[in-house]
């Protein structure tokens, strides 16, 4: 890394951290409820800043902005095509969108704030919901093999046994799933559209529930569909987490999980599986306390 370039970023960062108002460029791929809620939350947290919210289609350039916030992968990719080294925080990136190289190789002016649930958080949640939990099952596609180590580390920290199966071919999904359900007590979902998608979800859940195995995660939209529970970060959680990054020292190229999160459960699924009704707010607090206890 060129020392000159790094010092330029540091200087910019220093400047932006100072008291005077920033110009923040927010690049969103399209207008959705989420982008509206997120921009709204950002504005509330940074009332003194000028937020320039631009659609990707407008081909926005950093220009005079002192900070760029991109939403989603397309916006990040657009940003990476530009020569500007204005500090950039890429939000709403999921792990499956990062290749291992990508994961390690962001330019120093970029930090990534993931939308994916933090593995350890998901495991704590599973432990809170299923007492005396011993082993958890992870089913992923070959492309997401690299994510396995993240879960392995988290499982070790939580003293859980991780059973993982990698699916090379969709035809083998059922075979791996059945063997996984035999060997583990809870199925943990992860961001992997090859496995966790609309077409697979129903037979996958029916198969798991048929064996009295619950699914944790992978993300909030799966809860309404029939997954038991997950941690996730709402637009407000994301804005709060972003705010913490901004307060922190700049960590070139870092990929971070949101520090703020919520819990969402499906009480009907819990009831049907004979589990006590999950209290989301309480679960969130307990996970938070666990995280604080073993940072």
């Amino acid at each position: 890394m060129q020392p000159l370039r790094l010092s330029a970023i540091a200087l910019l960062w220093l400047l932006s951290s100072c008291a005077w108002a920033d110009i923040v460029l927010v690049i969103k791929p399209r207008e959705t409820q989420l982008t509206l809620a997120f921009v709204d939350a950002l504005q509330q947290r940074r009332p003194a800043d000028t937020l320039l919210v631009r659609l990707l289609g407008e081909q926005p350039e950093p220009g005079a902005a002192t900070l760029v916030i991109t939403m989603g992968l397309e916006a990040l990719e657009w940003r990476l095509q530009q020569a500007s080294t204005v500090p950039t925080i890429a939000t709403f990136i999921t792990l499956d969108q990062l290749t291992p190289q990508y994961h390690a190789g962001h330019p120093p002016f970029v930090q990534v704030l993931l939308a994916s649930a933090k593995p350890e958080r998901q495991l704590i949640l599973a432990q809170l919901l299923i007492p005396r939990l011993h082993s958890v099952g992870l089913l992923h596609s070959d492309q997401q093999q690299w994510q396995r180590s993240l879960w392995q580390t988290a499982a070790q920290r939580r003293k859980l046994k991780l059973q993982a199966r990698s699916v090379a071919d969709q035809q083998d999904l059922l075979r791996h799933l059945t063997s996984l359900l035999d060997d583990s007590e809870v199925l943990i979902g992860l961001d992997d559209p090859q496995v966790y998608n609309a077409a697979n979800l129903k037979p996958l859940l029916l198969s798991a529930y048929n064996r009295n195995r619950v699914l944790i995660g992978p993300s909030a939209p799966f809860i309404a569909a029939g997954s038991l529970s997950t941690t996730y970060s709402s637009a407000q959680d994301m804005a709060d987490s972003l705010e913490e990054i901004l307060q922190d020292d700049w960590r070139p190229g870092a990929v971070r999980y949101p520090t703020h999160f919520s819990v969402l459960s499906n009480p009907q699924v819990a009831r049907s599986l004979g589990l006590p009704p999950p209290r989301d707010a309480e679960l969130r607090q307990r996970i938070h306390a666990e995280e604080q206890a073993s940072p």
């Binding site: 077409a199 129903k202 309404a224 569909a225």
Partner: protein
């Protein structure tokens, strides 16, 4: 307003339940189907309007049981009686030791309760125990949901989804008492459509000897075929269809009710008839097909249609011999006028030194039963007496008879589950069933029945502490008429998973075709001996045709609780049940008098405790205490006052699992029953997806009693069998 496409409707429904920010938590909102809709999810145990026992796969496997009746000993209050080694009766709360007419049994929703003879042939079920996922036993009347015949309870056997497994399984079980079972299955497909083909066979020798020490001829040999295909047509639609077939052969002795007891006499005729006793084995064949289509209209509304067809045949033909008198018009006419008069002529003629004249004797006995001995009967009785003397040294009449019976059932049902509001859920439906039975001997031809049903159950949850359910079924049967069975249940939740329940239910059982419409007689073929008239045996039984339904009123107070952190599930049921208008008569061809004259009352307490002590240990205890008061002596046989089971399941390191189970009943048909079963299994991993499981099951009787009947005896108290199962 334009109609929304169904998928958007589902998403909208989901939107109503979850905050919008949640659904939008990814930038490109996933259009996920609502898989487990409120209407599709199974009812948790604490909300069931009654008592329910679930025998899960772990328990089924750990029991080592080779037949479903053996498994059902794990259900509190379920009493198992063996008529022979190959003929088993399962009765909830016991009662009659030879009949099991009051329990509905379903395999994946298909009733295997035979329409013609009101029984369940457990030995012939086209089902391998390895294919069972779990068995749900609803204890107590459930006519409101399952229709007539679900009088005492419902056993619903649920087979494994093809999704739940993958690959090939080969299993062989061998042991003493002639146990030779095999099972082979292959499952394939993908997540969206999975299938399983399984073939299996079962064989054993039944009991070893009878109470006189002679070999017992009661072996069973059965083979079966099952195919199931579960197909996810779209995220909201699924189709599940199955084919099943079985072929079984059950050994049986020569059975025929001759007019006279020729064992008592020693004339050449007596000797010839007594000497003739060829075996009369029973061959059975069952075929069935079932289709179930489910459609999620939206997250709150589901419709399903289920249809099945099945054919059952039991074939038994053998050659019988009887006195020529039994084929004479005089005896036939006398028997048609009064079965009692015909029986009394016989008992008079068998008396060594009668003190009375024949007419006085018959007149006296018929008077005791409220019947009149008419001059015509008197005339015929005299003719029979004269014929007996005439045929004393005659040759017997011999001929081929059969007890072949073929039954068909076609059933279609539509069911609609709808959540009207978050507090109100309605399940409703209608069904139509056609039953047909053909048997020359039992029905002198063919008989059919049409059954239409309308049913509904409304669930209202006004508050998190209260749940009320009201359900009912209206049925119309061509052969019996109309009936309505209501059920009311109220639950008070002490905590989210702890409820107290009060249930009141009324239920009915329709007389089966045989009880009500039998037209039973034996026609001979290939006749030899001195017979000139019609080739029909004198004995003839005819159903009254006007039998009423049996009626039950049941009251229950219960508790169901799940202590989640401790891993304890507890269910207690205290009940008071009364059946009136019961037909308890033994139905024999020479004594066929079904009626609605009997009554029975049960009260008692049943308890079930399932405790997952740790990840490796599970303890399960059941107990039933039943007090009963039956007007018919036939209903006082199979009810144990105390019965129960205890099981300890443990997983050891090195993929070894063990189980220890105790079963006990203080008296089943006057015999105590206590047995200890142990099983040890070791799984060897041969590769990433290959394994070999070796298991030894040892059953040991703790008492010296015969099983149900004095002639049901084994050489040893101990029974061992070993199985090897290869998965790849």
């Amino acid at each position: 307003m334009p109609m929304l496409p169904p998928r958007s409707a589902a998403v909208l429904a989901a939107l109503c339940l979850y905050p919008a920010s949640v659904l939008a938590a990814s930038l490109d909102p996933l259009e996920l189907p609502v898989v487990l809709t409120a209407t599709r999810l199974k009812q948790p145990p604490a909300e069931v309007p009654g008592s329910m026992t679930v025998l899960d796969r772990q328990l089924i496997r750990a029991s080592g049981a080779r037949s479903i009746p053996e498994l059902l000993r794990l259900v509190p209050g379920m009493h198992i009686g063996y008529r022979r080694g190959n003929q088993i009766n399962v009765n909830y709360h016991g009662t009659n030791v030879t009949e099991a007419r009051r329990l509905q049994v379903l395999v994946d929703g298909r009733s295997v309760y035979r329409p013609g003879l009101a029984t369940v042939d457990w030995a012939e079920l086209a089902l391998a125990i390895e294919d069972i996922d779990h068995i749900v036993v609803f204890r107590g009347p459930n006519t409101a949901a399952y229709g007539a015949n679900a009088l005492m309870g419902v056993v619903n056997i649920v087979t494994r989804l093809p999704l739940a497994e993958h690959g090939t399984t080969l299993k062989y079980t061998g042991g003493d008492r002639g146990v030779r079972d095999w099972y082979a299955s292959h499952s394939g497909g993908s997540l969206l459509h999975g299938w399983r083909l399984s073939l299996s066979g079962q064989q054993d020798d039944g009991f070893d000897h009878d109470d006189s020490g002679s070999d017992y001829r009661d072996s069973l040999r059965a083979s079966r075929f099952n195919l199931r295909h579960a197909w996810q047509l779209s995220p909201r639609q699924s189709l599940d269809w199955q084919l099943a077939a079985s072929e079984a052969s059950r050994q049986s002795y020569y059975e025929f009710g001759t007019y006279f007891n020729h064992r008592k006499g020693n004339s050449p005729l007596d000797q010839a008839i007594t000497a003739h006793a060829p075996d009369a084995d029973i061959r059975g064949r069952d075929f069935s097909t079932l289709g179930l289509w489910k459609l999620d209209l939206d997250a709150e509304h589901q419709v399903q249609v289920q249809a099945y067809a099945q054919h059952t045949e039991r074939l038994r033909d053998w050659r019988i011999c009887d006195s020529p008198v039994a084929f004479t018009p005089a005896l036939r006419q006398l028997n048609a006028l009064s079965q009692l008069a015909a029986r009394r002529v016989r008992s008079y003629l068998e008396l060594p030194a009668p003190a009375l004249g024949m007419d006085d004797y018959i007149h006296t006995y018929m008077g005791l039963e409220g019947q009149t001995y008419t001059p015509r009967m008197q005339e015929l009785a005299h003719q029979v007496r004269d014929l007996v003397a005439q045929h004393r040294d005659s040759q017997p009449v011999c001929g081929d008879i059969n007890e072949n019976i073929r039954e068909n059932r076609y059933h279609i049902e539509i069911q609609d589950a709808l959540r009207l509001t978050p507090q109100l859920r309605l399940l409703s439906g209608a069904s139509y069933r056609y039953d047909r039975v053909s048997s020359d001997s039992y029905f002198s031809g063919t008989l059919d029945n049409h059954v239409s049903q309308l049913f509904g159950n409304l669930e209202y949850r006004p508050h998190e502490r209260w749940l009320f359910q009201a359900g009912g079924m209206y049925e119309h049967e061509k052969l019996v008429g109309d009936s309505f069975s209501p059920r009311l249940a109220g639950h008070l939740f002490l905590a989210p998973q702890h409820s107290l329940r009060l249930v009141y239910a009324e239920a009915v059982r329709s007389p089966d075709m045989y009880e009500n419409h039998a037209n039973w007689r034996y026609r001979l073929r290939n006749v030899s001996g001195p017979l000139t008239g019609p080739l029909t045996h004198y004995a003839w039984a005819q159903g009254p045709g006007d039998l009423q339904q049996e009626r039950m009123r049941s009251r229950e107070i219960g508790y169901n609780g799940h202590f989640h952190q401790l891993g304890i599930r507890l269910d207690v049921r205290a009940f008071h049940e009364r059946i009136t208008g019961m037909n308890s008569q033994p139905l024999k061809v020479d004594n066929f008098q079904p009626n609605n004259a009997s009554q029975i009352r049960f009260k008692g307490v049943e308890t079930e405790l399932d405790w997952q002590l740790s990840a490796t240990d599970r303890l399960r205890l059941t107990h039933a205490r039943i007090d009963f008061d039956a007007t018919s002596k036939y209903d006082q046989r199979l009810t144990a006052r105390h019965s129960g089971s205890a099981a300890w399941l443990r997983l050891w390191p090195g993929e070894i699992s063990t189980s220890l189970m105790y079963y006990g009943a203080d008296q089943l048909n006057e015999h105590r029953f206590e047995r200890l079963d142990t099983r040890i299994e070791k799984r060897l991993r041969l590769g990433p997806d290959n394994s070999l499981a070796l298991a030894l099951t040892w059953q040991y009787r703790l008492d010296d009693e015969p099983l149900t009947w004095p002639e049901n005896l084994h050489d040893s108290r101990s029974h061992l069998y070993l199985s090897a199962e290869l998965n790849f």
